[in-house]
Subunit: 233 residues, 2 copies
Amino acid sequence: MTPRSPRPRDRGIPEATVARLPVYLRALQGMAERGTLTISSEDLASIAGVNSAKLRKDLSHLGSYGTRGVGYDVDYLVYQISRELGLTQDWTVAIAGVGNLGRALANYGGFGTRGFRIAALFDADLRVVGDEVAGLVVRHIDTLEDVVGSEDVAIGVIATPAVSAQGVCDRFVEAGVTSVLNFAPVVLNVPPAVDVRKVDLSIELQILAFHEQRKADGQAPPEAGWIDATEKT
Amino acid sequence: MTPRSPRPRDRGIPEATVARLPVYLRALQGMAERGTLTISSEDLASIAGVNSAKLRKDLSHLGSYGTRGVGYDVDYLVYQISRELGLTQDWTVAIAGVGNLGRALANYGGFGTRGFRIAALFDADLRVVGDEVAGLVVRHIDTLEDVVGSEDVAIGVIATPAVSAQGVCDRFVEAGVTSVLNFAPVVLNVPPAVDVRKVDLSIELQILAFHEQRKADGQAPPEAGWIDATEKT
DNA sequence: CCTACTTTGTGCGTACTTTCACAAGGGCGT
DNA sequence: ACGCCCTTGTGAAAGTACGCACAAAGTAGG
């Protein structure tokens, strides 16, 4: 099993696993800061809110980085997960739309510290263009192509109103962006080579409403103990 | 039209389906506004960015609301999906944390129009308490219990810094909130009867980075046509 | 060196999801 | 009234994901 070749580098990590790696990473970074050297799958799983078998299976996709009887070396695992997620290199991000949401994103600390550099903020509203937000001057949306080209932006973030989203997306894609994070409540149309992920507040609330309604209809749901949120994604 | 048996009311709608219903609903509401009366699964699927077979199977969980040879009645389907999601009743929401993100959420239009009423905004920072945001006066976090109790808040939104999130969550839960939408980058601990959904910007970016890295490693990915974003959730 | 104990990595059964492909149902023109 | 054509609803297959339970592998102590 895994004859320790130069690189286990399995190119087929399940999507569900990829979505959990950032959670493990954050937990591990917290451990590292607190000076913990090693951690067992059981403990890490508990912090991350998942089943320990699932955690071990997830990590096994990256290679055999644990030590039986001991656990995982925290720093080493941080490095391996970071590398797998592509966080050992820097990614350049541009944000379109500087409303409250755009500002919240621009000021979000977790950006820079994790390999994401904000190259530019764009807006169409001339009352906002020229303002300084999070240390950057807001540029007019019509400079998008120039900036994306010269700064080699890989990820475009869309925080515009819904009506503008597809147009901005098209311009991002045309300019060479290959990943888009969409906060606007619309389904974006992109070529197959472009990845899109969406974050949609209204959808999340509606899903919660669905379950809330169930609880009301049914009645006393099973109440047992205090568990880690399974945070269904 | 469609006399239908009393209630197919299958209480077992798959989670994956529930997550897509809001997307269909939004697409249908757009159609309704534009005056479209009926729509085929093929067309609706295309707008929603999913496979038409998947759409039909999703809708089949709600009952048989289509007409063969014709398609679905837009208004009727809007109603059925709304009812299933619990949007025919109003849900009361409270938001904790009135930073840029909290403001963005409070000002987000899609709230009120879809059955979600914001009952209160809370913050711990005295410089913010008393401000008016989106027509509401920001209250001190210590009034959370009073308000949640008297306003019958069902959904708590956490838009605080990470360090405060678990504390606020505990107070929400203790006060009787049974659904939580968490924007803070932490894994929340809640009793089993409480639903938690998380929205985590940093995780989304890391997932995009992973795929971005793949594209770079590999090389020319298959480029074929122009498709609907599959927006992996 | 050998035994007892701990924790990983994974084989396997189960459950959920997606997709295909097609029979059944319903409208519409003649 | 009949038959053609369209679109739904669904059985079955294929692909994913999950979690149990345990053998393998490593530590620690005598």
